[in-house]
Symmetry: C3
């Protein structure tokens, strides 16, 4: 069920998001993360300054410097919904968090902050070494899907059982080592899974991992599509937005492109509390079970990849087919040149 | 979450369905579609009377004359739920929309209006030519899934980028040309995707497309099952109904039939905002991934087909296994003769 | 959307669960099952004492004596959430129902009541003979998924069409005969599907069936995981709990275990109104469609089995990746010894 401010208010404070430091956090009201963070107990392994176990780096390493930082973010920069040819009213800028890729040793940012964060690429047989620095004021982590990692490289807060990588304090740095073993190929999400979960995810802390098979032919074009929501609890805005890659409404969400004849891959994940269906107009593809489909169901943290050879020039929609999500912004253009 | 009137009212007007012409449309209150339609801006291509690009008709053509028209519709004609052996109280008749098949050149209706509308059949290699006439008072379209179509045959409203087929005005006629190319075989939904979306879908404007492989053996029996909802926003009734093919509650929804020994195919789609699971009692089937299943998850606009040889005579339920949906009417009989 | 007491109250009584004996039953308020049961009409076949049709027992029989009985149940026995290292406040004990396995002829219980109930095991070619006794004060049934059964062995209430097995009165006994024919292999849920549906399921009346292929190698470890909810309507408690096997919150839900080198199978089902995703940290597996996954979507009554060879010692989470469900208790430990 989709709610806007009126619905949220009437629902008596909105649905429960989580309970942090004994305080119930609800969808409709902005959570004060920095204040809540003060009451979250530090795990022993962090308080005592325990070191992470020595991680194995097998095979060649792919190294990334990743910073979680606060960023001013605008959900509907064009203030228009091109699908409905209508204005989108109201302020849509808020204090988000983003993972930002930096040059070696955190020298300089490699580009502007994006939501989702940078796509981490590796090949089967390589080891991902991700140096993570937390420049927000709340404890954070990076939790990967799909790849192989030992428990201390899990990036998950585990209460008293937490490893140092499960509670990276403001200002701290932690190096995650993840092995792209045989059988980890695919495109996966990564995301915060720390003690403030899911609020940092709801503020934008997620991205994609792409583990390729060596020698496998690369698609000509790859689209990374994250379905998620920006809710009042994370934005302080009055309205809930259904988003694709940090933006809402056609013309603001990514306008994907390709050319006829290109091999196009699309990688979709979900980073919200909702279930979605992914639909692409004018196209269809053979799913992993052999069926021809043009619409698939995806739940939180699912990852789905599809591929086709482009044969249909023009301006198309890609969107969530949950009707209310579509109308709350979960739609975009896919423009194919002849 | 399922709400009835009490829930809707308490939730402050219900969840947001969409924003049309700057007006928020909510689940619990009947939308005045004809009034809203007056404020929806005509796209340039429609106002200037642009012609659709010349569509390619390759291979033999399968021609349909399809009219969208208002229809009085009763959701629970028997006023009883045979599953619970209980009366279903209250008025369930309202002003729906339906796609109706007509004879050549819109001569005469080929039968009574149904929800879903007529199943459009074709074989791979054929081209579907669907002459669509809009006899309602709001702009409408027909958007197909699965088949191949050029952008102007998409049947999707695209704001200022709309082609004539994406905004068929009251009284107007538009001919859609859809190619059943290799790799489009399957059973697919079609539905309105015009400027009033999703309200016309919520009023009944959807149907099935069946693209068969030439020479493939036909099942002896085929059941088409659309899971959807009739909500107060579309009906003006007090209660939300979970429906199968326009009806709610066992004995009102289609009573499907077959005989022992027959090859039975069932084709299921979803045309509501909800996710559902399809369960059939006394039967199971091998899914496309090789697993034996008797219950599958489906989201909005997903399409799923299953097949089995009937071996179990008697009276069975088919239903959505979301418990609240089942109890709001999403269930029916499947009666197998020996 | 997840609601706690505050949300439920504000939502005007909560979502509709079902309508029993003409009375609307809502999520937020405890239903008086025993009182409601008095108004549920007995089907003719039960009132007249009709006998079930003679069931075929083909192949060897696997016999179970199963009793549905009231049981005091505590959802959060440790009163702590080990994931968040936080206290879980409030009373969590209530009057549940459970299926309990008894020795031959209902001699004595084979152990303490569990939720889910006992796993019923059989091999393809065998017939399951389940003697069911109802020791609660409301009519109940046992409805199996996956296996073959004639309509009178369906265990589903069908209003006036009900067979004796679809309405087992308080104090009564009914013997279900289910055939594990070729093509029924797999792990399936069973659950109440009687005239009080879904309230007895919501109180704990469900379990697993495991139909094995003869000669197939057994996994070294098997985990059975039921995602469900304990809602105020069924518990009389103030809060809704997202549960795994009758418990909520890490440390209370089952702590699953395995050793490196073991072949581990996990069997997951859903017995609530919600959709979920199953995620296991530090592991991934090849799904039936050939994809490598670590997160899958499951809806009500879906059944999903996965298998892997354990290679990653340590303390891991398994959990539902719907963020609000995770934070309402749908998470547990998986501890792997070296």
């Amino acid at each position: 069920m989709s709610l806007d401010r009126r619905g949220f208010l009437a629902a008596g404070g909105g649905a429960l998001v989580c309970t942090l430091a004994g305080q119930k956090v609800r969808e409709d009201r902005e959570a004060d993360l920095e204040r809540l963070a003060l009451d979250v107990p530090e795990p022993d392994a962090v308080r005592t300054g325990a070191r992470a176990a020595q991680a194995t780096v097998s095979g060649p390493r792919r190294e990334y410097w990743l910073v979680a930082e606060p960023v001013r973010w605008t959900i509907v920069p064009n203030k228009r919904d091109e699908m409905m040819d209508a204005a989108v009213k109201g302020r849509t800028t808020f204090g988000a968090y983003a993972y930002v890729a930096y040059s070696k040793d955190f020298g300089r940012p490699l580009g502007k902050a994006t939501i989702p964060g940078p796509t981490l690429e590796a090949e089967v047989g390589e080891t991902l070494v991700v140096h993570f620095r937390n420049r927000t004021k709340v404890p954070l982590t990076v939790h990967p899907h799909g790849v192989f990692y030992t428990p201390d490289m899990d990036g998950a807060y585990k209460g008293r059982f937490s490893d140092p990588g499960g509670f990276v304090k403001p200002g701290a740095t932690f190096t995650y080592v993840w092995e792209c073993r045989e059988g980890t190929e695919g495109v996966w999400p990564y995301h915060d899974h720390g003690p403030m979960d899911p609020l940092p995810v709801y503020k934008g802390l997620f991205g994609f991992l792409n583990v390729r098979k060596p020698g496998a032919p690369r698609p000509d074009v790859e689209h990374y599509i994250a379905f998620h929501a920006f809710l009042p609890v994370a934005t302080g805005l009055k309205t809930a937005y259904q988003c694709i890659n940090g933006r809402s409404f056609t013309g603001n969400t990514p306008t994907l492109t390709a050319k006829v004849g290109q091999r196009v891959a699309q990688h979709i994940t979900v980073m919200s509390d909702d279930f979605h269906t992914y639909h692409l107009h004018g196209h269809r593809w053979r799913g992993p079970d052999g069926r021809v489909v043009d619409n698939v169901t995806l739940g939180p943290a699912d990852a789905y990849s599809l591929e086709f050879v482009e044969d249909n020039p023009g301006r198309w929609f890609y969107h969530c087919h949950v009707f209310s999500h579509l109308h709350e912004g979960m739609s975009g253009w896919y423009v194919v040149d002849p």
